[in-house]
């Protein structure tokens, strides 16, 4: 019937944005280089031509200004989808995001809503060194008032945006830069996704590996390696970093009794630390081994390719951590 649904992650994001612009006249896009240039990662290519300058707006080089403008637009009932080129630049808009977007509904006693969606590219691996390779979605997951999403698989890249737009509160969507080129089949049966639950991507019995974003695929690769050794890992895609779907994580740990958490962010005070603590608090008596995490090394991201690879979690690290819990030396 329909043509093959072979699609890239980039294209899935683009289709999500196109649907949003088609379905609701109140939606519009804002960001640096999203219009004429087609987007730093080519996600918004062609949308300016299709929808015009009112709906696809190139902004000045000032994150604080245009995120603030997006907050303002949302306050008066529009549905802006703001793109921040990378999480590295979002730091310039932190005050807007945390002190305005996340807080106005609370401070106004619910009189004002901020139905804002911000899309942010994140993560390392592109050899763009210390100031351009951060994974700070774990920081954002610390802030009450925000919902934080991390689409890893194609269905989530395609359909999380629609669910985010339906949320009356601010939602930040973190797209890992190494995922834009991944290609695969989009399941035609899936036409929407929730933005509340984590998902078990691979069933297993021996150890739970929790991951998100690019880390998910590294965890799945590690799981394949371990399967050849007779270790069956259960791999969970967090999907939603705030609020965390603790119930899914606890159910898995109750079954496997061992857990490794994968987080590209720096180890200290990472999202992995929060998840580990929740498991220790609520599943202590299910644990048959200490908790482990595989995180980014605590160094500013190196520029040299081999050093960047060494600074990031890799499948071999994940497999070693998990294997060490199942088959201690």
């Amino acid at each position: 019937m329909s043509a093959s649904t072979q699609i890239t992650y980039r294209e899935a994001c683009r289709q999500g944005l196109r649907d949003a612009l088609l379905n609701d006249p109140k939606t519009f896009l804002m960001g640096e280089d999203i219009g004429r240039y087609g987007g730093c990662y080519a996600v918004t290519k062609g949308l300016l031509d299709e929808f015009g300058e009112e709906r696809v707006r190139d902004t000045p080089l000032s994150e604080s200004a245009y995120v603030g403008a997006g907050i303002g637009a949302a306050l008066v009932g529009m549905r802006p989808i703001v793109e921040i080129m990378t999480v590295n630049f979002s730091l310039l808009a932190l005050d807007q995001i945390i002190n305005n977007a996340a807080t106005i509904p609370h401070m106004s006693g619910g009189q004002f809503a901020v139905p804002l969606v911000i899309r942010i590219a994140t993560g390392g691996g592109r050899r763009v060194a210390a100031q351009h390779s951060h994974s700070l979605e774990g920081w954002y997951a610390h802030i009450p008032g925000l919902r934080i999403l991390a689409p890893a698989v194609l269905e989530d890249a395609r359909f999380m945006l629609a669910a985010a737009l339906a949320d009356p509160n601010p939602v930040l969507i973190f797209e890992h830069v190494m995922l834009y080129n991944i290609e695969g089949e989009l399941d035609p049966a899936v036409t929407s996704v929730d933005i509340a639950h984590a998902k078990v991507r691979r069933q297993g019995t021996d150890v739970t590996v929790i991951a998100y974003g690019n880390g998910l695929f590294k965890a799945l690769t590690a799981a394949d390696t371990m399967a050849t050794e007779g270790i069956e890992a259960e791999v969970i895609d967090l999907r939603v970093l705030r609020p965390l779907d603790t119930a899914t994580l606890l159910a898995s740990v109750a079954k496997t009794r061992r857990c490794v958490i994968v987080d590209e962010g720096w180890r200290s005070g990472s999202l992995a630390a929060e998840i580990g603590m929740r498991i220790a608090e609520q599943a202590f008596f299910d644990l048959d081994a200490p908790l482990r995490r595989v995180c980014g090394r605590e160094v500013p991201m190196p520029y040299a390719a081999h050093l960047e690879d060494a600074a990031l979690p890799q499948p071999a690290d994940i497999a070693a951590a998990a294997r060490g819990l199942v088959r201690p030396a």
Binding site: T228, E229, G230, R257, R267, F284, F285, D286, L287, D288, A289, P290, R292, R293, V294, C295, G296, R297, P313, A316, D317, A320, A321, R323, G324, L325, R327, P328, A329
Partner: protein, 387 residues
């Protein structure tokens, strides 16, 4: 073919317990080898998939020969399993970003995971004294379930059938070689000391009174634990002497001398004896005695002792002056416990006494150091509840 003693030159492969295609991990028993000391189970210290069994059953090969090939799946074959290290290697740190996990060696000391404790309660098993194979040496669910499957501790009514057992003439030759070498090369000095065991035996009687028969302790357990703890205070007597001089042992692994029926002596190691509880030590000792006599001792148990303790038991002579087992540097000997005259206050009274002796290598320690050990043992045995 591993070296299972300083003088072993060759071994006969009598049984393979793995086949090509099997996955093996560190600590797995892979073969049974016949030596002068009887049939010994060989453990492996690498990990991977068995690709080839090189030596057939029945072959006698020199120590150091290749006997099997183990490969990591998907990679070129790794170097073959050959000579056995003098002590089992400490685990290599995994290449992860988890520095806490890599820094800790496998610890003993009664760790148990929360899940294992729950499972033990469900199964009605006392987890104390179980050997742990989990992370950091913790008792894990698998260990509890294995203990449940084996039900009673060391039930001797059904001894496992003896494997190709030891030949006492061969064992005598091995002992002769080792002891001959020891007396030729090691300048022994000897110290002895008499210890009042009144407090220790009173405590033991009270403890045993409160325990069902299978959980009771023998006096030998107290002597063993006191010896191990005393060595913490005098580490110069715990280790090995080699070309580079004295090397302290990586832990206090006490070789416990067991005499075999029909003649013969073997001293398998009780690893980290200083960290184990008395019930755990008792259980380990019983297991070792059973396996020493019926076959089933493991290679790591024969090669990792850092000191030897020998006890004549209750029907032996008053004092034993032993011969050090190379490359160790000390041998602690206990005579039989008997009621003898002792001065208490200003009177002579009969007390249960034991004579503890130390044979030590004079290249490594002097009488003063040796005496410290015996004094420490005496002190530790006066407070049995702290052992």
């Amino acid at each position: 073919m591993p070296a299972l003693g300083a003088d072993m030159e060759a071994g006969t492969l009598v049984e393979w317990l793995i086949k090509p295609g099997d996955w093996v991990k560190r600590g797995d028993v892979v073969a049974v080898v016949e030596t002068q000391k009887g049939a010994i189970e060989i453990e492996i210290f690498s990990e991977g998939v068995v690709s080839e069994l090189v030596v057939p059953v029945g072959a006698k090969v020199p120590v150091g020969s290749l006997i099997a090939r183990i490969g990591v799946p998907g990679e070129a074959p790794t170097p073959p399993v050959t000579a056995f290290p003098a002590a089992p290697p400490t685990p290599a740190p995994p290449p992860t970003t988890t520095p806490v996990a890599t820094a800790l060696p496998a610890l003993r000391g009664g760790k148990i995971t929360p899940a294992a404790r729950r499972r033990a309660a469900e199964l009605g098993i006392d987890p104390a004294g179980l050997l742990g194979t989990g992370v950091e040496g913790a008792v894990s669910v698998a260990d509890v379930e294995a203990a449940a499957a084996h039900s009673a501790p060391v039930s001797l009514v059904a001894l496992p059938p003896r494997r190709a057992g030891f030949d006492s003439a061969e064992m005598r030759k091995a002992i002769a070689a080792a002891m001959g070498r020891s007396k030729r090369e090691i300048p022994h000095y000897y110290l002895s000391h008499t210890v009042d065991l009144g407090a220790a035996l009173a405590w033991l009687a009270a403890f045993n009174d409160s325990q069902p028969v299978p959980n009771r302790l023998l006096p030998a357990v107290l002597l063993l634990k006191a010896s191990a703890l005393a060595l913490r205070e005098v580490p110069q007597l715990n280790g090995a002497y080699g070309d580079g001089g004295f090397k302290p042992g990586p832990g206090i692994h006490v070789g416990w001398a067991i005499s075999l029926r029909g003649g013969g002596l073997i001293a398998p190691a009780i690893r980290d004896a200083d960290t184990r509880s008395l019930p755990e030590l008792m259980s380990v000792m019983r297991d070792l005695v059973q396996r020493a006599r019926a076959g089933g001792l493991r290679s790591s148990e024969l090669a990792s002792s850092t000191v030897t303790v020998t006890s004549l038991g209750d029907r032996g002579a008053e004092t034993v002056m032993g011969i050090i087992y190379p490359p160790q540097v000390a041998l602690i000997g206990y005579g039989s416990i008997g009621s003898r005259p002792w001065v208490v206050g200003k009177r002579v009274k009969p007390r249960p006494l034991v004579t503890v002796s130390l044979a030590a290598d004079h290249r490594v320690s002097d009488g003063h150091i040796g005496a410290l050990l015996l004094i420490a043992i005496e002190r530790l045995l006066q407070e049995p509840e702290k052992l």
